[in-house]
Symmetry: C2
Subunit: 344 residues, 2 copies
DNA sequence: ATACATTATGCTAACGTTAGCACGAAGGGT
DNA sequence: ACCCTTCGTGCTAACGTTAGCATAATGTAT
């Protein structure tokens, strides 16, 4: 690897001069600058940020810690962050926690060994104590999920309101047996969504046993399939279903398609998130659209500004984006009992 | 930030001893090691890889340069890489080129300033000269797309064979007016897929004007929608359509759904890649499945091994994975002319 | 010519870590 | 007592870069 020293020796000048010429220091003559730049380019010189960091410069790397990049929520976020950060000269380090706090911790250890400038994290349900300690050392921002121990910098969506709205829509249609399929309650988002579901039932004046919640592992397509299969076999099966995660929705749609369940005649469904396939699934999936893109952009801008202004202006910050119900064809007025499938 | 020096001062020993204790050097007594580890843990010491790199250690960061993480091809790849690399203690740097060679170059410059240990890249159509020079400095691997200037280390799928198979399926069904929608020919994958399409027509004994190809920008959902809209309005519209990218497929499916085109009665369609929504679209999309996951794993393992064994064992390496046609319901025997839509 | 700015460049130290060499202390054999 | 080995530790230099201070070279006013 070429260093400033190599350039200096070739030109018969000192390393300081080379360094200053490359940094466009006004004290260096234009002639020298030109010669240095020329040589640097010819020799394929690339500055060593590791060395620069040793002299106190901060890194230009921001880490994104998420459960799984294959989830379109997270890939959208990664994309928006990457795009916004590239413009500011920052690079993105991607770490997948797989919703496992030990994996999360291992990643954070590596990230801090690499001295990342900042971290954007969708934390696991209960981050490890050491993870919390590590994060305290750099500007960081929680995304979607929020854990109190990680501080109050948080960007998220209004999970409670999103599920309240979705459920209220079904209640308004007259459904009285509504099931909710969601992530685990120990996840802050899971708890909020469940609360939203319950709130809507209560506000709709439905009895306690009108709603039932099936909670499972986060982000599991298979759990969605399995849960909906189980639900439909029950004697007093629900007439409507609300979903609490993208992955669950994907699983449920697949299962309903395969079983040939007639939606919305047999079952009304409200999905979570919006994917390309949701619009052409069956009668079109009524679903909760979330402004993920805007949120990610906001996130990126916040962190960029935070990293550029040295002073620690870390007041508590929280930004909540509302979701909005996208009405398509998968919901219909409720009946007392779920109708039998039509005979072919 | 805590350094080995801080630990040394606190314990009244030298930095060398601290360094060696943390590295588990056999020359250090167990008692001292214990004290050092204790202190390091208490003080929240995190080793500084930048400093270590200055002493010749290589970085533990591998870069992934792709067009757009939102494409499920690439997010699957990122996931597999990340998973495999985490096990070996490597971190993943994510860079999106947006299929723009200048963006690609800017990313590569930053990546090399950060001294990434290796690069896995889905190159743009014609990478910048400087990009080529930069890449030569580290172990790198081309993925899916292959540009001769970037060396012969390449993992990809058999694009030619994939499209040959898909098209042959339509030819076998008796279609004689088949359209292909794909990425630009200047992209190596685009050219190969187009060749595969043409090969199948030739092998099927069809005349030259039996097939027509519409090439557009890479990874454009909108181009897919627009192109299929245009195609269907033509007087002598094709009776079958083969797609040459995931994004195009997504666009086409959306457009066909919205226009209410009856598939496969009015039009037979073979998609590219496999997404959750493809199975429940219309009659189920017959599509070309590609072993992306296996390929990404192979990629990760190759690079990990390459990075662990110092000697430059860079013989030319190429691994080609075959695709396989997934038969669902979107193709039917061809007719002379495209039937009119049924009246409601 | 001398003194004084001004301009362009060089020297040195420092960042945190590690590897090589050196050193002191202890123990065993003569 | 001596030498020799072994063990545990410390000192120093080096990695590539940059900031502070020093110095050399030029120009300008006296």
């Amino acid at each position: 690897m070429i260093t400033t020293r190599d350039i200096a020796e070739r030109l018969g000048i000192s390393v300081s001069t080379v360094g200053r010429a490359l940094a466009d220091d006004p004290r260096i003559s234009e002639k020298t600058k030109f010669r240095v730049r020329q040589a640097a380019s010819e020799m394929g010189y690339v500055g060593n940020r590791a060395a620069r960091m040793m002299r106190g410069a901060s890194s230009n790397v921001v880490a994104l810690v998420i459960p799984d990049i294959r989830n379109t929520f997270y890939s959208t976020i990664a994309h928006e962050l990457s795009k916004n950060m590239e413009a500011e000269g920052f690079q993105l380090m991607l770490s997948e926690s797989d919703d496992d706090r030990m994996v999360e911790l291992r990643h954070l250890r590596e990230l801090f060994a690499n001295r990342v400038a900042g971290v954007i994290i969708v934390p696991t349900a209960r981050p490890h104590n050491e993870s919390v300690k590590l994060l305290r050392a750099v500007p960081h921002l929680q995304l979607l999920r929020r854990h109190p121990s990680l501080g109050s910098q948080w960007f998220g969506v209004d999970d409670h309101e999103a599920l309240r709205q979705a459920t209220a829509h079904l209640v308004a249609l007259g459904h009285t047996r509504i099931a909710y399929l969601g992530g685990p309650e120990e996840l802050p988002t899971g708890a909020e969504r469940l609360r939203g579901f319950r709130s809507a039932l209560r506000e709709g004046g439905l009895p306690d046993d009108a709603g039932r919640a099936e909670l499972g592992p986060p982000s599991s397509v298979d759990h969605g399939r399995e849960a909906v299969r189980r639900l439909l076999q029950e004697p007093d099966a629900p007439t409507a279903l609300v979903l609490g995660s993208i992955q669950l929705t994907l699983g449920v749609l697949k299962e309903l398609s395969e079983q040939g369940v007639e939606v919305p005649r047999e079952l009304s469904v409200v999905g979570f998130g919006d994917e390309p396939g949701f619009s052409w699934w069956g009668p079109g999936l009524t679903t909760i659209g979330l402004p993920i893109q805007e949120m990610a952009t906001g996130c990126a801008l916040w962190l960029m500004r935070r990293l550029k202004t040295r002073p620690s202006n870390d007041g508590p910050y929280t930004s909540v984006s509302p979701g909005s119900l996208i009405l398509r064809g998968s919901t219909a007025p409720g009946r007392k009992h779920r109708p039998r499938p039509t005979e072919p």
